[in-house]
Every structure is written in C-alpha cells, then in structure tokens.
C-alpha cells in the first residue's frame, strides 16, 4: 500500500495522502523547539528557537559552546521559557470522577505539547534531559560547577517528555517529520523524508516547483555565498556554515572576550546571534507551516482519548516532581523496564486498531493484509447456542473482495454504531465465490471474490431475540476485523516488592543503594574540550 502510494507520488510529482484524518493531537498553543548543536560535541548546544508564538520566537544562543558557564546560561534560558508554560498547565486541573477501581483523581485539563523538527532533534531533547537532570545547583555548596536552580528540573521534564515520546500514539513531544510522514507519502525514500525542508517541498511544493525539484533545492541548493538556501533542520549544522562563517565569528568573540573589550565582545556576540538565528529561522517557519498543513486535516475519532492518556502522563510526572522524588535514573531497573515495554506494546496495538477504525485508508491497509474484511451481507441464518438457555448465535454470510488470513474459529470484531464495545464473532468458513464476479472486476476494481461466513457471538443483548439493530440485514455493508478494537495488555505485572528475585534484576537495585551507574557524571576541567 505504501509502495503504491510512493509510486503514485512520483508520478504526481507531489505527496499523496497517507491518511484521511489527523491521527495526532495538536494543541492550541504548542511549544515549538528548534535546537542546534555544535558539531562533534555531545550535548553542547549552539542555540535554539523556542516559543509558542510563531511571530516572536525566543532566540537562545551560546556565543562560545565550549564555555561551561555560557552553556549553563543557555539551559537556564530554556528553563525560563519552558518551565512557566509547564507550571501554567500543571495548575489548571479538572477532577476525574471516581470509578469502580479508582478513586476520584485530579487530572490536568490540558498538557503542554512540544514540537521539534525531526527525530534527531527529539533524540537531542532526550540528551539535554540526560545531561541536565543530574546537575547540581547553586543551592548545593559542594557542587564544583553549580548550575542555576531550575536547570535540573528542566532536565527532568525533558527526560519525561522524551521518554513518553517512545510510547506509540503519544503526542506530548512530537517530531514533525514523523507526524508528516504518517499523513502523507512522498515520492522519495523514507531516509530522505527525514529532511524537513525536502518533506515539506513534497507535501506543499513551493510556487513554480514540483515536489522533487523543491526537495532537491531544499537539500542541496546553495546561495551565492555557498551557504545552504534551506539550512538543515538540525540539530546538526551545515559544515560549510560552521567552517566559513561560524568559526571566524566565534574566534572574534573569543578574542574580544580575552582582551576584556566589553563593547567588542557585545558586538561579536550579536554577530554570533545573528548567524545562529539565520540558520534557525527557516526551520522555525517550516515547523509552523507543517503544523498548519496538519491542522487542515480533521481530527481522528480516537485522538482525544489518546491525548487524555498523555494528560495522565503529564499529571503523573507533575505529581512525582511535587512529591520531591529524585530524578529519573540513568537506567531503568528490570521491573520498570518490563512495565514500560508492556505498556508500549499495548499502546502500539491500541494505536493500530484505533487508526484503522478512524481512517478508511488505515483500514484498507489492514484489509490488504488480510486482517480485516468488509463486504455486503448476502444472507443471515438464525441459530441458537446449545445449552439450558439458548442464546442467539446467528450465522452471517457476506460477499467480500478480502481474503481473511485466519483459520475458522478465529475471533472477529465488528464496530456497531451506538454500542460501547465491539461485537464479537467467530469465523466459520471462507469459500471462493463462483467465478464471474471476480473476473469482470479486473476493470474497475475487483468485485467480491470470497464468501465469508461468521457466527455472531455477542453484542446482541441478553434476551432470546437479538437486540434490534445488532444483527445486520441482508444487503447491509459490514466490516469485520480480526484484531481487537480496544486491546488490553496482558495480566498486570506484580508490584516491585512481589517480583521474584529471578526477575527483579541485579541484587541491590531494589534497596536503592547507589550502584556504580548512579555515581555522578565525571567532570573534567575542560569539559567537552
């Protein structure tokens, strides 16, 4: 299906839809963050553009990335932009009513959403979170290189966002290229789709160009000064930019600072700021353009439900921070890791099912894969289960072009309008339809080729006669899936205290004794160089 879409995009010279609805929540006021890093240095930021207002981004620049103090200043600047936003959302709560197995709880009414240009930038957010959440602040008298107070808190939030981004279907932290490629298919390879400028050129070609030409210009077009017309979306910079303009500007800054020349330092710093901004601004605008494109799509039916889980995640972390828990460990212990994996697997299955239910294109891919079948009901035969109280178990036969890849007896599910959960059924038989229908279908799409019979096993009420509308009439169009509509994870994992020692990871981990992995990061005088 993807393959075909890519071929169609090549022929059309621009991207083709890969979804008919938007599968990702987009906040009213997302925080856009475009980071840039220094080549060859892990976690030495060069600058960033951040903010919720597309016309007035906050520009943060490190005029000498190798200087620890300036770098900490950058983190403090980032914290002063992000933390107030986080605090604002954290205080705006609503109350979740109590249910059978949960007490009444407080839930944040909304959560701040952070959007970065691409997956590399998302990884960078994780890296910044990792590098800052253990730093010791000025409140700690023993800290060799103290940082401003809010920096470790920023690190914990960034870590939480980056960690949450690993859960399928979550939207707290979005890499724009991933979201765009979910909704459009371009005529280039998946690897090239990672270039935000090129991807946007395929989806929404600039005036006078088609997708491939626009993408090529975004990838390699250089101005007369040899700099890229559309700078890379980061966090890595263009080496030509580094060598030709940035390095001399940094040298000027260093020289002025070493000479103690105040005005010259300020001038050189302004120059570096101008240069870094020139690399950031095009990407900043691209990110907002990408968000506009996404907003034009109607939201999928289950998006709000998934966003609610994100709000739970946000609220949960808020509570942990407020309770004064220590920062997230460098490595999860065995129990936490197992829980995270189980949670993500469930989330993945749920996401796949919900996308298929929300979006006919996603369902089409599942039908192609033999995981769902849709067609017209050709016959309904009433039948009852054996037992003391016979229950209706009608046999429904439908003519479908889809060949379900399952053995008789497999469970199937059908979404019934107005019902709370999917109707269950069991596959009875799959027989080829008589030839004729299949053959003349070659022209405009294949006609039904299979006759599939299922036995409805639920969703018909508890009486002897099925609830009205719960059994399809002959001639009705129905769709069954072979996957659950609301998949749950397996049985809950035991609590950490109850986990047998064979599954609990290395001894000592549970007692909280600091192992070698917990020792503070080594610090060298000329950190990062």
């Amino acid at each position: 299906m993807q393959t075909l879409a890519r071929a169609e995009a090549v022929a059309a010279g621009r991207a083709v839809p890969a979804a008919t609805v938007r599968h990702t929540h987009l906040g009213e006021r997302p925080v856009v963050l475009v980071p840039l890093t220094t080549a060859g240095e892990a976690g030495a930021p060069l600058g960033a553009m951040v903010g919720t207002d597309r016309d007035e981004p906050t520009l943060l620049v490190v005029p000498q990335p190798l200087d620890r103090e300036l770098r900490f200043g950058f983190f403090a600047g980032l914290a002063s932009v992000l933390l107030p936003v986080l605090a604002e959302y954290a205080d705006d709560t609503e109350v979740e009513p109590a249910t059978r197995n949960r007490e009444e709880t407080e839930l944040c009414a909304d959560a701040p959403q952070i959007v970065v240009p691409n997956t590399a930038a998302l990884e960078y957010v994780r890296l910044v979170g990792r590098s800052t959440r253990f730093l010791r602040t000025v409140e700690d008298p023993d800290a060799p290189h103290p940082v401003p107070v809010p920096v470790p808190l920023l690190g914990r939030w960034l870590t939480h966002y980056a960690e949450r981004a690993r859960t399928p279907g979550s939207a707290l932290l979005l890499a724009l290229t991933s979201v765009l490629t979910r909704h459009w298919t371009t005529g280039q390879s998946a690897m090239e789709d990672q270039h935000l400028g090129a991807l946007l050129a395929w989806i929404d070609p600039p005036a006078g160009l088609d997708g491939p030409a626009g993408a090529a210009r975004a990838q390699t077009g250089r101005g007369p000064d040899g700099l890229l017309l559309s700078p890379p979306a980061g966090p890595a910079t263009d080496p030509v930019f580094d060598n030709r303009v940035l390095a001399p500007a940094l040298t000027r800054y260093d020289r002025a600072r070493a000479a103690g020349d105040g005005p010259a330092t300020a001038g050189a710093e302004a120059e570096v700021r101008r240069l870094v901004a020139s690399q950031l601004r095009p990407t900043w605008d691209d990110v907002w353009r990408g968000l506009d494109l996404l907003r034009a799509l109607p939201e999928g039916g289950h998006v709000a439900e998934r966003w609610k889980r994100d709000r739970w995640s946000f609220t949960g972390h808020r509570d942990r921070v407020r309770a004064g828990e220590p920062p997230q460990p460098k490595r999860d212990d065995a129990v936490t890791a197992a829980q995270k994996l189980a949670g993500r697997e469930t989330a993945q299955a749920r996401l796949m099912a919900q996308e298929a239910l929300d979006d006919p294109l996603a369902m089409a891919a599942r039908r192609l894969g033999g995981e769902a079948f849709a067609g017209t009901v050709t016959g309904v035969e009433m039948a009852y289960s054996e037992g003391r109280r016979p229950m209706p178990r009608p046999l429904v036969t439908l003519a479908t072009p889809d060949l379900p890849q399952a053995e008789p007896g497999a469970k199937a599910y059908r979404a019934v309008p107005g019902a709370r959960s999917a109707q269950t059924a069991a596959l009875v038989s799959v027989l080829p339809l008589d030839a004729g229908g299949a053959e003349d279908g070659a022209g405009e799409g294949p006609g039904p080729a299979w006759s599939v019979t299922v036995r409805l096993t639920g969703g018909m009420g508890s009486g002897r006669t099925p609830k009205e509308g719960s059994v399809p009439e002959p001639g009705a169009a129905v769709a069954f899936t072979l996957f659950e509509h609301d998949p749950r994870g397996g049985p809950a994992l035991p609590e950490a205290e109850l986990t047998p020692w064979t599954h609990g990871g290395p001894p000592g981990a549970a007692t909280g004794a600091p192992g070698p992995a917990d020792s503070p990061d080594p610090v060298t005088p000329e950190d990062y160089l």
Binding site: G43, Q188, R331, P522
Partner: protein
C-alpha cells in the same frame, strides 16, 4: 609488482594523466562494502578518481564535509588519550606501566609498513606492546592502499587488537549505533590488513576491536570491545570482488576516462559536461538512498535513477517487495490493471491495494462512534507505571 601493470595503467588512464591519485582509505573501503554491487563506485575508487570533483563537474555536488569543530574535537580527544606515552590508553587496556611502545618512525610509507611488521615480530611474548599509528598495507586491485589505524595492541597472549579512537560519547554504556557501526566497518578493514602481515595464517589479529570514546559528557576516555566479525566477512568478500575491477574496466568502451581536464589554473574543469556524463554513465551503478550519506556521486546517481523511474530510488526494501517490477511506470501500470501478469503475487497485491486505496479515499472521512472508554481506568501514565 611495481613493474608496468596493465590494470594500473588502465586505471591511471581512467583517472586522467594530470590528476593525482586519491588514495583509498579505510572509510572508503568500508563504504564500498556497504554497497558491494555498485560497479561505478568500485571502479572510480580503485582508480583513485576524485568523485567529489566529478560530481561537482556533473552539476550534482554532494553535501559533504566535516565541520572544523568536529575535526578539532576529534584531534583533541585522541591527543588526550595518547598523552604521556599513551598512558591513558594503556590503562584502559589493562597494561598500565608495563608495555613497550616502540618508535615506528621510518622514511616513506614502505619503510613505515616494514617498521610496523618488524615491531609486530619483535613484540615481547608474554608482555604488552602498543603500536601508536602503525602503517599497514593492503593490496587492492593491483595498487597498494596504505592504512593507518589509531593504534594496535599486542597482548601477552600474542594476539593483536585494533584500537579505534572516536570522539562520539559513550553515554551510560551505550553509543549511537550508526556511529559505532561506521567505526566497526572501518576497523574491520584494519583487521584485514593486519591479517596480511601475520605469518600464522591471519589468526593473530582478534576479530574484536577496542573502541575508545569519551565517557558521558566528560572528556574522560572509556573503552568498549566491539565484535567486528560480521563486518570482517562483508569487507573480505567485497575486497575479493574488487579484484575483478579489470572486468569492469574491460567492459568499458575504448577511451573512456573520468579526466576533468583541469584548465590552466589546475582546478577548473574544461571537459564538456555531456562527455563526462557519458563516461560516468558507461559504468553501471547501483543506487540506493543510503548512498546519499556515503558517496559523493549519490545525487547524480539519484537524478539518473529518478529520470529512469527506477524504484530503487524509493528505497531498498521497496525494491525487494516488487519483484520483477523495476520502474515506477510498471508499478502503476500493474496497479491499474493495464499490464502485468495477474497471477504474479506482486501484481495481484498492487491491484488489490489500488482498489482499496481508491475506495478508501472516495469515502469521506466518517466521524465514527467515539469509543466510550473515557470512564474506564486509564493507566496513570502509559509508559512507566510505578
């Protein structure tokens, strides 16, 4: 061996009389191994053609280059690891204060290779010997390639280990998989070259290298062992194929050359673009999107692949799915039922996909019944429940 070699002459002609040969290095050999089917790259690399200059002359320059920040960082880190007679490196190897670090200085590359061979032979059995920047030679397609690993350690058991120093960090015990992979492929070439030096049939170089990287966010070096057996096998196979360079060269029309005919300033090419394009096109290439990050000619090859509507331009895995359909046109024609054998599974699947896609796009997005799951217990945070 250095007497006139017909292939060497042939390759020199391909390069152009006034063009200096670009020596192959471990990185280039490793990149070749990543796309073993590409004859264009194999031939041009063997001939020592400056592919970047050719790409520029063809009008599809590559976006390559190293930032000077990364460059200086790499140098500073290696200098730190090797300061005070490689003290830090020896500590990581567990040979602190009890290793010989012989001087490998010698005139000329041949002398240095000879000196390296001697030093390896003289290494004291039962003790540690560390060779700092030895020079190794590998015979490739009739010409000698000189390779310079960061270091080679001889352990007390007589085994040789390649040491590779890189400046990307090992963070909490893990590093960027792509970078580690690149380092492993590069080191595999060194291991192969070392095996050539071993008179014991190549059993002494360990198929496991030591990767030295900065730890976390500091400048403190840390070392990890990396198994390179897989990379070794791939590289070895590819280098065996490289010896058939002569076959590729023989298949070319008489007089083919990639000479740019530099003008009087020695830089600006004077060769007409059409002529050069024809010469490059005379060698078949195997383009894959992965080339974009490893080969200077990739943008040229991509334009060509796209112009021919080849499906490889869309990705390797996609190419594999489509079987006999090699062009975008054929894919679309098959999908729309205008040609293709309906019993071919790929064609049948495409037709079904086309029909389903049309049907789905025709159906207006229906806002389906919302799952009424909101009042059910939601995990407090899907990821890390505590």
């Amino acid at each position: 061996m250095s007497t006139s070699h017909p292939l060497t002459e042939r390759l020199a002609a391909l390069r152009g009389p006034s063009t200096p040969q670009r020596p192959l290095d471990a990185r280039a050999l490793a990149a070749l191994a990543a796309n073993p089917g590409c004859r264009r790259r194999a031939l041009m690399d063997a001939a020592g053609v400056d592919k970047g200059a050719v790409a520029e002359a063809l009008g599809s320059p590559a976006r390559f280059g190293q930032s000077r920040f990364a460059f200086s960082r790499g140098h500073a880190f290696e200098a730190r690891v090797k300061a005070d007679g490689c003290a830090e490196l020896l500590r990581l190897l567990g040979a602190e204060g009890r290793a010989a670090v012989p001087d490998l200085g010698a005139p000329g590359p041949k002398g240095r290779v000879e000196r390296t061979r001697q030093a390896l032979a003289e290494a004291e059995p039962g003790g540690w010997t560390l060779l700092d920047h030895p020079l190794l030679a590998l015979e490739i397609a009739g010409s000698t390639v000189y390779l310079e690993p960061d270091a080679v350690a001889v352990a007390p058991d007589g085994r040789w280990t390649v040491v590779e120093i890189k400046s990307f960090p090992i963070l909490d015990g893990g590093a960027d998989a792509q970078k580690v992979g690149a380092a492993a492929r590069q080191a595999a070439v060194y291991v192969l070259a070392l095996a050539e030096l071993d008179e014991h049939g190549g059993s002494r170089p360990r198929p496991e290298i030591v990767l030295v990287c900065p730890r976390d966010f500091s400048n403190l070096p840390t070392a990890e062992r990396v198994d390179v057996r897989k990379q070794l096998a791939v590289t070895r196979r590819q280098l065996q194929r490289l010896t058939r360079i002569s076959e590729i060269a023989d298949a070319l029309p008489e007089g083919t050359t990639f000479d740019l005919r530099p003008g009087p300033d020695g830089r600006t090419p004077t060769r007409p673009r059409e002529e050069l394009t024809a010469a490059v096109e005379a060698v078949p290439a195997v383009y894959a999107p992965e080339c974009l990050s490893t080969c200077e000619l990739a943008f040229h090859c991509r334009d060509r692949a796209r112009a021919a509507g080849r499906v490889e331009a869309l990705g390797r895995s996609l190419r594999g799915e489509l079987g006999g359909l090699t062009t975008v046109e054929a894919v679309l024609a098959a999908a729309h039922g205008t040609c293709g054998d309906p019993t071919d599974p790929a064609v049948a699947a495409l037709r079904r996909a086309a029909a389903l896609r049309r049907e789905a796009l025709a159906a207006a997005p229906v806002v389906g019944p919302r799952a009424a799951a909101d009042d059910e217990p939601v995990p407090a945070h899907g990821g890390g429940a505590r």
